[in-house]
Symmetry: D2
């Protein structure tokens, strides 16, 4: 079944694979009147581009975006926005010998079983490069959210056993000043060292990325099967390498009592707020006006150069593979822009569904 579209009122359909001709997205449902240029999208793509630091893959992918439709005289016109990136620097040779040997930790085996005919080069559509489509969609969503003062940002809070302490969100722009996308620069340095060490061993390491959404008004979310937390969990769990998602207090709730977890309400200058934010901004599937906080567990990149056991599916016999090529020893920094994009799409979608952003024309946006 077609699975390459996300969103209902703000819909993003993506296409393309690692070693194909191009990757891109079609965004349908963006209201007219939004200022949008290739620069807006390029800025976001540059955040996910590899080859930008010593801890990411040395592949050089310029990833220049081209808008094909949906923008007229510098503004969206309500018609589908198609944008793409042509693939360059494609080297498929390394994959030829992995052809019928599913790589441990990768989706290869499932793809082969599902479709029979499978583009094995660079993971095909299972590659991390497909997140170019996510980021294109998210760039438009972010622009749209800005019109209602909503900001989505993600940052790395853990790599291996190195954890960031309490984070001052007001310093969030700091995360782009280091290669690991950690807001705290001292922690960032330790994370970098760990990643480089692991890289030298031909291994990889996991981590945790936190996502914060500021400015969502109370009343957003569609119970009972399209709750805001459910839709966010869906988008985030759908990012390759993510194996867990938690909101607010998350898994910690298991060890606590109701009196410790419940967030009491109070009045802050006639505005309703909660004393704590253990709910992470979402209660009963609907936003409550507090910051939305979500954390995701990111597994270590499965591509490692240490030999691993697998099965040759053609000969049906056990064998070993060693994955060469250029890979990120820790994927967390590159999950950051993808998580932001994915969440931005969900929030933009829900704001239109909630009547906060007008479906046709941003100038008409009202509120609940």
């Amino acid at each position: 079944m077609p699975g390459n579209t996300i969103g209902k009122m703000f819909r993003v359909t993506t296409f393309g694979s690692s070693h194909g001709k191009a990757l891109g997205a079609v965004i349908d449902g963006c209201p007219a009147g939004l200022e949008l240029s290739e620069k807006d999208i390029q800025k976001e793509l540059d955040k996910r581009r590899p080859g930008i630091s010593k801890i990411t893959t040395p592949r050089k992918e310029p990833d220049k975006v081209e808008i094909l439709s949906g923008v007229f005289n510098g503004k969206t016109d309500g018609t589908p926005i198609a944008a793409l990136v042509y693939n360059k620097d494609v080297d498929s040779s390394a994959y030829e010998k992995l052809k019928n040997k599913p790589r441990p930790g990768h989706g290869d085996y499932g793809w082969i079983k599902r479709y029979g005919h499978y583009d094995y080069r660079g993971g095909g559509r299972g590659s991390g490069r497909v997140t170019i489509g996510h980021v294109i969609g998210g760039a438009v969503a972010k622009k749209l959210l800005k019109t209602v003062n909503i900001e989505v940002f993600a940052h790395v809070i853990q790599v291996g056993n190195i954890k960031a302490g309490k984070i001052d969100y007001s310093k969030r722009k700091e995360r782009f000043k280091n290669s690991v996308r950690c807001i705290d620069k001292n922690t960032a340095k330790k994370m970098e060292e760990l990643i480089l060490k692991v890289k030298k061993e031909g291994n990889s390491i996991g981590g945790i990325v936190e996502l914060v959404i500021l400015g969502v008004p109370p009343g957003v979310g569609d119970p009972v099967f399209s709750k805001l937390d459910a839709d966010l969990a869906h988008a985030i769990m759908g990012i390759g390498s993510v194996k867990g998602v938690e909101i607010g207090m998350g898994f910690e709730v298991a060890r606590h009592m109701g009196s410790e977890v419940n967030d009491e309400f109070y009045l802050d200058k006639n505005k309703i707020k909660t004393v704590t934010n253990n709910s992470g901004g979402i209660l009963g599937g609907i936003s409550n006006g507090m910051p939305i906080i979500l954390r995701m567990a990111v597994k270590p990149t499965p591509s490692i150069s240490i030999p691993q056991k697998t099965v040759d599916l053609e000969k049906m016999e056990e064998t070993k593979i060693k994955i060469e090529g250029r890979h990120d020893p820790c994927i967390c920094p590159r999950i950051v822009p993808v998580a932001e994009a994915s969440a931005a799409i969900v929030i933009a979608d829900h704001l239109i569904r909630s009547g906060i952003i007008h479906p046709c024309n941003i100038k008409a946006s009202g509120g609940i």
Copy 2:
């Protein structure tokens, strides 16, 4: 936006609220030829019914299901299956005084902001009773999955700080022999004691429920936006009180290296398996044939009888409330059937989408 439908090929639409006339579901897309009776659904509803042990709410809800359509001569006929439960034992008086005072930890505030006009009695559609609809849909899904030898089960593995050790899944039926739905009876006893202690204090306690799905063949899942893990996370995170979802090794991946997390492939009598199952049966969003393992963090029931601060939205002044009424001190045991139902719906939907279960007629079911 309408949010009360889940699934694409196997679609469940639910309706009803805590203190309304009835609750139910319409299941559209169940293939014809499946044997189905009210008994099949009642059996599942009985698992979620309160008033069945000393640790659950003493409300008496017979919750007798009635099938209205879609079954002819004992078999589904391909048309929508509507089934409902009429509400009995409804006592709304306790809620009258909570009318404009959102309960901490509950969704009230969001519902009020979203819809203006809000059924505050018993949480309205935000109540746990709406999961009757989930369970009706899940009962049909479970019956359907049985035709292809797939079993979905959930069990409680943690309450507060009490954790079950390694679980022998072959003993899974044991979970219904105690009130906490824990497979290990010794742990169950300790959990029960903790829950009763917390109850006496007018408080509540959180926990962790594990979900296991056996028998899903490799090749199920629709990348990149309808991956199997993403859709499961969506369904599970959408259950009230769930604040976290993890698959396989889950959040533990953050602290590990690729060589520790990757599951190596081997041949077991010509069948491809993985040595470990850190992926929890899903890689790249597609099943790999191993058991699917998912855990969810369940927060303590927000309804506690300890006084809590809130805001009177009419008078716009701070106040305190004490929630009376009948509530579960630990909701984990009652999440069990709801988690099973939610997952069963997702799997049934994906099996039809994957061509493994035929969309019209179960006799024609083939495979990938």
Copy 3:
């Protein structure tokens, strides 16, 4: 695949069959705050009820509607509205002998081939009685449209060769003063005579129903695959017995030149209108503010008591059947409320999609 839901933002899911336990609908996406009672729905159901005149089937179906959810203190509360009608006066005996013999002009054969297991009693879900679900959904949609001054009405303009002349729409309430639902009473009388004559012969007769929608503002419709005319055509062609749909000048356009068909624009007190309305209120798939005019061709009821050839599917041999039972000799009058309901659902859906009716709360409805 599930096909029992219509609409995207205003969604109606129906269930039930001719001789099953009940028929009904779940309406998801109706904004909160709309006054709604069983009386509102009953009024519409009464228009489609048989046994109300000498030209309709003498079956007695009280068809009392019951609202199960979604209405609180007399107003919708944003949650799904479930409503149903229990079947009474069910006599399945006449169908026993038609069991494996598809009736000419009916859908039986397709249903058998599609689902294998098929409820043959009274046409099962292929029966006209399933339009009870349409009418329930339409009743809610009509109530919603009234809040923005939109009215949907249908009337019979042709039966056999008897055609109504130019119709004065301001007299539209007259259509309920005769059994054929024709606005012009003289034509109505002739139509009635023809229908009674045909009935006496055990035969049936076709006709044409016109649908008019007043008050839709310009700017409604979602090109290129969810145009307003396309969605109306979809809803109307989906009504049993309809074999053609045309909008505005309809099939007549084939014989005309651009200069005759194009509607020129002019200013009427600062409001933009068109001199003619050959487009039927829709241009390029978007409303232009003129009345929406649509006509549908209704085939003669396929159930006739004249013997007809068919095939016994069990014995695989040719045979003859004579359809007994109680049937309408002309289905046009009963298509009227169903066409109104179907169109009202489409318009309500599009108004929410266009931001003219607010998705959560009718009080917040704005405009494009």
Copy 4:
């Protein structure tokens, strides 16, 4: 709301406008293993290309298609197929003076009211050029249908008052031997003469296109809201210029009796067929195995060079416009490939939904 996607299991999302950078489509849900090349798509695009005869617009649009993704080693691989055509020969100057003056018979006025910000050049996304996306999607659908021996074809049967007599479908390839796409060459000649005469007058003329689908097995269609005839009517009515759709006997049913319209069943070498085909191959919304026959009314091209009244929306005063530029005096011949494409998409979608074509892998296609 996003309206640029058609289909549920076989989904086509299109983008692009008349004078933008490119037009194209993303096809999601095409099973893997289908042989597909740019040649397959180009062949269909060439049928809709203007500038190929004296009766079509003299614009020169090479319309070279480029496949960007979804095809690996000459076969589809189950991932989204993106394909596009870059716009060349774009001359926007003629539209500058029409900027705020909606053209009679065109969708301009609705687009302006809907989106505020509107690409007026060449009709923007309201242009006939957007059907390039339809044709790309349809080309893939046709290839897919061929694997189960289904053929979709359309042909012109009426232009003005000139009607083709009884058509011998076996000669259907003849329609490409003349510029009007009429199977009968003598009628074609008369049609051509009429079109040239009308063109000389700066006027345009309407017509009727017939669509035939051969090979659809019985049992395809999803009652009650996704019937096969309803979905076909939706797709066809959504084509610009179409103002009416009828199936089988169509509007003629209004004048006939049940005994004349009902198609009796008989056995033809153990295969069930109907004596007549007044139903046009669809009964109760489900195919019955007979050829599917549908006709559409096509209005005369609204772009005529005769002066017409309109309103200057900026000055809010009445004015006149004369549409210059290059236009087809009769759009019927160019509707032919678009109707074929639209219908092919609907049928491909329904065949997957019905389990006749496997959703993942064409080699696994089974049947109902």
